[in-house]
Assembly symmetry: D2
Homo-oligomer: 261 residues x 4
């Protein structure tokens, strides 16, 4: 079960903000800082928010810090391949054991998201500052709570378009319309092992999208929704020799068959 306060880690590769003036102007302390402030403002002391970035040792995602994370947000774009496979393995394990993962924008192409999905996760894209209109497809879904209308707009956005190569979402709650002609499943949820995985597509670094109150509302809801729930999860093979109910057959097992060859 989730801890109280809920322990949230925002991971950001944090490259564009340090190297590109256009991005720094929008996110002077990194886009993670804007997201962290938004969570603080909404949840205060009921949420404990920390940040981690690519250039920290172990990308700031040590076993210890992950063990104390209930929900992990992930933003990456230019350096997916610089994330170490060992850290990816460790995040994967934590998701299966119940940690929520919220993949933001170009995290669709991150190692961890692709590993959890099992598909290419590739898509159409165009950076042309076009209008994106985000439509609510499932008005009862917890992640859209607090939105005021059937849709909201982002006046300038990067287009992400279908076909988006993901497994059919367990829950599809947002679909975006783009001025240039495409559509996109922009809000999706899946369950993997005991953990919840959410994808929210809006969030290109050259537009002030994480300053948008609707986007902040969605992220806040997603964090709450992805908090750990449920019961015993084992996630490993277990040989149950004594049966729960009686078995008629008498049978000799050649255990050698079950050893790796």
């Amino acid at each position: 079960m989730a801890a109280s306060p809920l322990r949230v880690t925002i991971w950001n590769e944090y490259i564009h903000e340090l190297t590109v003036d256009q991005v720094r102007a929008i996110y002077p302390h990194g886009l993670h800082a804007v997201i962290a402030d938004a969570l603080d403002a909404r949840f205060g002391s009921s949420m404990e928010v920390r940040v981690a970035t690519l250039d920290e040792p172990e990308h700031g995602l040590t076993y210890a810090s992950l063990a104390e994370t209930d929900v992990l947000l992930w933003w990456g774009h230019a350096a997916h391949d610089r994330v170490s496979d060992e850290v990816v393995q460790r995040v994967h394990d934590r998701v299966l054991h119940g940690m929520g993962l919220i993949a933001l924008h170009s995290a669709h192409a991150s190692k961890i998201f692709r590993r959890l999905m099992g598909t290419s996760c590739m898509l159409r894209w165009r950076e042309a500052a076009e209008k994106e209109r985000v439509w609510v497809i499932d008005p009862g879904h917890p992640v859209v709570s607090g939105l005021r209308d059937e849709w909201f707009e982002l006046s300038q956005s990067e287009m992400y378009g279908e076909h988006f190569d993901i497994p059919a979402p367990d829950e599809l709650f947002l679909v975006s319309w783009f001025e240039g002609g495409e559509v996109f499943r922009s809000g999706c949820a899946w369950r993997r092992g005991k953990g919840k995985v959410i994808y929210l597509s809006p969030g290109h670094e050259t537009f002030p999208i994480y300053h948008n109150p609707n986007i902040q509302q969605l992220i806040g809801n997603a964090v709450q929704y992805a908090a750990p729930t449920g019961s015993l999860y084992l996630g490993q093979g277990r040989n149950i020799v004594p049966s729960l109910s009686p078995i008629a057959a008498r049978y000799f097992v050649d255990e050698g068959l079950h050893r790796s060859k």
Copy 2:
């Protein structure tokens, strides 16, 4: 689209049949041979069946042979880790591009199945020759066509039990009851990329399960169901610069942002 005749490859690690008398007695030419015969008997010249095994060069799964495979069946148990990562990658690519994959029994723990699922795919198990009663959960599903009742029995089976750590199936059509007390989602389907993935659990090597006519019926149906269908699949990112519909904004793109850092 699927070729006509449909081109089917049965992959078997083919170890137990060569090394364990109990197994050889049931499957003297390998369990793949029994499955191949069953498909031949049902489909004749409308299906072209070949077999491939672990010890062949490239495990019998060269680029060429995979390119000419519409549906691949996979049986493995004792040597999952001896399957080369390169071949797994190549099978994964083919599935995303439309080749059907039917994972049989302990192939739940194969590299290819786990990669497509994104979870541990682990489960409870017990080898005690207990009764398994296979229940139809979705009587309209194509894979159960031709079954005669609401259920059928396997008098002796290995128990596979829940929790089975898979993503929720897109389609669940069989659930098994075990004499010793467990239940199991024994017939499941997912879509990944353009391909269909089916899991059929009954099939332990020490019982003559692939000789069972109901199991043969299910496998035959599954092969037909997993045949390639659909339209254009790209499975890679594509930057669509000219928009399909007009965009009001005038915008300069810093392409440098989209390069790996």
Copy 3:
């Protein structure tokens, strides 16, 4: 199982074509005639197509004619409430027992579709002859087979927009973009009982949409996909007194409890 040839009934309320010049000009013999011709052209003698309309006795959907229908297409708009509840009941029964149902365009509001869905099935709409661009969301789905690109366009269409109040589709294969700003889940499939239900939204009567080759391709695929498959379906309660496996308890059943009070 489906008969061979596949027996298809196209039901049309057939009002607009007889009463509105603009519609008659596009569909002089009814839009059902255009769909029937399209199926004939594609499938020839492997499909037996008949038509039925609102004003026939029992709307042309007698027990006998439904019993001989494998897949039923339904187009209605102005007279949903003139369809008799008895006929709706009869179609519902047939769907649960395996007949495919393809709801076209404004059949979203038909009695039979709403009954199968359990929701209002209502939506946004606008008739403004705007462009609709239909995107393939699931490129491996059988219903999109034969489409040539990631999308196709209808130069003039009625807008149907989200939120579309349906249960989450078991399979979502098309999402439409509309020039005026909306998105819509335009190709969906569900299973109900033993039957398959498909919804295809494009098809407003004042535009020549059923003459469009892509739409004809989708309808042809949908008919094949919705053909009956599967095994025994009972669809009624059944009291199974002797158990399949032994039960330890000795127990007296007061059958009176199970009678209606």
Copy 4:
């Protein structure tokens, strides 16, 4: 959104407890009283629980009382047909507008559940006091939170068995094993309109199942899970004449087409 405290109504047809000694002995004040006490004990003042029964005026489900209900539990068995269609209509509307509905045991055959599902909702059954072992299929699901193992047992239960004629659940979290040989999807969730619908099968009136702590845990979790969430839901057709984005075509609409004929 849900009120605080959460307002819960437990509806019970309340017939067997008044007329059958065996049932009265287990539930002297009605099974609704046991469920109400269990919710009180767990949630105290954060939940406001009331009860309603068949024989009250309007079955205790007036517009006013439903308007003040966030989650409705439903237990019925012998008198489904005595529930008035008008009340069913009113409950249906409330569910679509966000009220949670938890259908218990033989409520699978209630008018309201069948209307929300669109299928027969029929099943195999046997009353033989056999053992039921309830398995967790989705260990991360909120409704199973607090369970201590992979399964729990009910020493005596009524068998409900597959095929259970429901639409594939949006979420399947429990599957039951029965001593006599059947399996059953015993914990399921769907979304309909803005509301959540949960089905929990264990609960036959001749066994003390609602006294079982695991069952009480599941019901408590289900009530919390089914609480209203989300944003604007309209659930009716709406003609959006001015478009959100510009449309090139100039077009005259014959509004007469959209009138009922």
